[in-house]
Symmetry: C2
Subunit: 429 residues, 2 copies
């Protein structure tokens, strides 16, 4: 399906006007960045870069798209002819998926003609704002879970297609599995499932439901024990499946207390290796509060797909350079810095991040040593995605490395300042 | 594109287990409802019903979907054979799009075999939870705007496909236009656009940018005047376009003060009919606070697509009846009432809503008079969408009618109780 109409009307009318007066061919640099992190967050994690590259590749105005634009009169024939031939032919640099970002980090830089870059604005922002919001929330959950696996099960609480991208973002952050089958197909993410209360209610008794599930899925399955009475549910589960039952799931109540009681009961019944999965409106705070409880895995839904209070990353796509000249809006507090920027992330010798230095590509670079690195990498050259662009699995590793590099305050869940400051280096010392 | 894998893993493993023990063919009723409204909201608006009907129709397991399920071993051959032939053959009743809902309202009821209904759970919830969250927020904005038009421009702040559904939900609530071209194509929603700061920055001067835009789009266009200095921007806009300029847009600063100054300035310049469009992080509260200002239209983005603090409606899909017998989970505060429910909305003779009476379809119906009505309507019969199912435009009218029917407290933006109580009628007087 073409992604070309996932675009704001004004991108195309601006294109039409710029084609008409000749400015469409000016060399431009567009920059994606977040002015701030949401809600006292201490770091952001870039998500969606891989999807952006796919979307740019599929950004083609076919007959159906052109017919719609013609019939509605959005733009005239000159612009339609230009769009019919559109292939992005510029360059893209950016933070790899899974990279940490901070206020002002140049997360993505699009270089090309004005026409090349302006038509991609909406689509690029949609993907980065959504996916970065989800992966940023997910990373906090993974960090709070402290090595315990988290299952993504939030698809039912968000748009059906966004759900697939949420599963992808959760995987990127380090979730272990997803319930979303389309995410399994599209991205190869392992899918898992337990059981719903409906399955127990369908049967004449909990015992029959458990027996049917074990019969169909084996004793390694996860039985949902809280439909009627949890203690009796656990007894029945072990009677039916035996002490080798894979797991039980508790989806309601004070799951910390219930997990402790369930662990004791399971151990008494000899099911010492049966795992305990908890779910039910968990977020990073609830996960952290369960750290001392005998929980083996978390199921997370709503809070993941809604970005746990920050459903969008608030990134913007700004024109920062025209024919080599820095440009910027100047009327208000929304001011931003003109000119193409590059970032340098400084680290201590121990590997702990110190600051995000943002400087003009045209200016004098700040000094760097062997512990520092440049988070931007080339992603597209002359319209072609570069070979060896990082994979989703690379991103998963990058999230882990990034979280380890944060100063310890950066991993606190409470509201605070960004974990490292963004320093604008002017080139003048 | 098949919607079949927009489904949770466990729906299919439950199906497989139920096919194996014969319970898959039991007659079931599944009910969609919200236990509560989000965040002190006083009403909800149902969105997505039309999309649910499309999604059910497209819910087919084709070769590609079956091959994925086979290769990953999600279910065995018996379940795969059943899925290959799957066509929903049951009934669906529900609240039409644009209908108000309250805690416990039976927003959608799916009747069929267990197998028929269980596989639809995730997809139905994804659509209803997303679209209802957006239309519910949008209706508050429309109400706050008090007749002034609102332009939907939030696509860049949400998932690229969710953006299209957000534009649809905003239209349903009464927004006038959207920036999203795909929403224009898919749903026939009128699209509009103004201009971005990038277009001004692209040019050597604001004057040249304005001239190019007017040349390409005519004097009826909307010029964005806040790139450098708003007062000078307005002067330049009228010098370039003349007093017949369609509109100016202000996207930053204290838009109330700026709108007043701009109105005076435009009037002084003879541009008395040039409209003023404001945008920039507006939500329903900001819109309401601008009621006394000379604003002609609002552009709303982030707050719309994020549900203005409530990005999901939190609806659930619960099995409530098996072979005519009411069923319900009983272990916790998540308890719900078993049995298929019907709603009656009572009104005063003036048309003001009084209460949402929810009663068992199998019990004695509450008494009703000519002012009362039953919000549920038939949507699908024997797998076929009924003729004359309400359109999106019908829904737009239904939102208007619904808001008018609310007691006046119901339209307050502040947090409060649901505008009308939900009364569970037991049939015993």
């Amino acid at each position: 399906m073409s992604t070309a109409l996932l675009t704001d009307h004004y991108e195309l009318t601006m294109l039409a006007a710029a084609l008409r007066d000749g400015t469409a061919s000016r060399s431009c640099v567009f920059e994606v960045f977040a002015r701030r992190l949401p809600n006292g967050r201490r770091y952001g994690v870039v998500g969606g870069t891989g999807r952006v590259l796919d979307a740019i590749t599929e950004f083609r105005f076919g007959d159906a798209e052109l017919a719609h634009l013609r019939s509605t009169g959005v733009v005239g024939e000159d612009a339609l002819a230009w769009l019919a031939d559109y292939r992005f032919s510029g360059d893209v640099d950016g933070y790899a998926e899974g990279e940490l970002y901070f206020p002002g980090s140049p997360v993505l830089t699009v270089t090309g003609t004005f026409a090349d870059g302006v038509v991609l604005e909406t689509l690029v922002l949609s993907i980065l704002n959504h996916d970065s919001a989800i992966v940023s929330a997910a990373a906090r959950m993974v960090s709070a879970a402290n090595g315990r696996p988290i299952i993504e099960m939030g698809g039912r609480r968000t748009h059906e297609r966004a759900a697939v991208s949420c599963a992808r973002a959760a995987h990127l952050a380090g979730f272990s599995t997803t319930s979303n089958l389309e995410a399994g197909r599209t991205y190869g993410i392992p899918t898992t499932g337990t059981c719903a209360h409906a399955f127990t209610l369908l049967h004449d008794s909990e015992r029959e439901a458990f027996a049917a599930q074990v019969d169909a899925l084996g004793v390694g399955t996860t039985l949902l024990v809280d439909t009627y009475d949890i203690t009796r549910g656990i007894d029945t589960a072990i009677e039916v499946a035996g002490p080798d039952l894979g797991a039980i799931r508790i989806d309601s109540g004070d799951v910390g207390v219930l997990a402790r009681q369930a662990r004791e009961q399971l151990d008494r019944l000899g099911a010492t290796r049966t795992r305990i999965v908890v779910s039910g409106d968990l977020d990073e705070y609830a996960i952290a509060s369960l750290r001392a409880e005998p929980v083996d895995a978390y199921g997370v839904g709503t809070s993941l797909v809604t970005g746990s209070g920050a459903p969008t990353a608030g990134m913007v796509y700004k024109l920062v350079e025209v024919d080599g000249r820095p440009v910027a809006k100047r009327s208000s507090s929304k001011e931003s810095l003109g000119g193409r920027k590059v970032a340098l992330r400084r680290h201590k010798a121990t590997g702990t991040a110190l600051e995000e230095v943002v400087f003009l590509a045209s200016g004098k670079a700040p000094e760097a040593d062997g512990h520092d690195r440049y988070p931007q990498i080339p992603l597209v050259r002359g319209g072609e995605v570069v070979p060896d662009v990082p994979t989703l699995e690379d991103g998963r590793q990058r999230v882990r490395t990034g979280l380890v590099s944060l100063p310890w305050e950066g991993l606190k869940l409470s509201a605070g300042e960004p974990a490292i400051p963004t320093v604008h280096h002017t080139g003048e010392q």
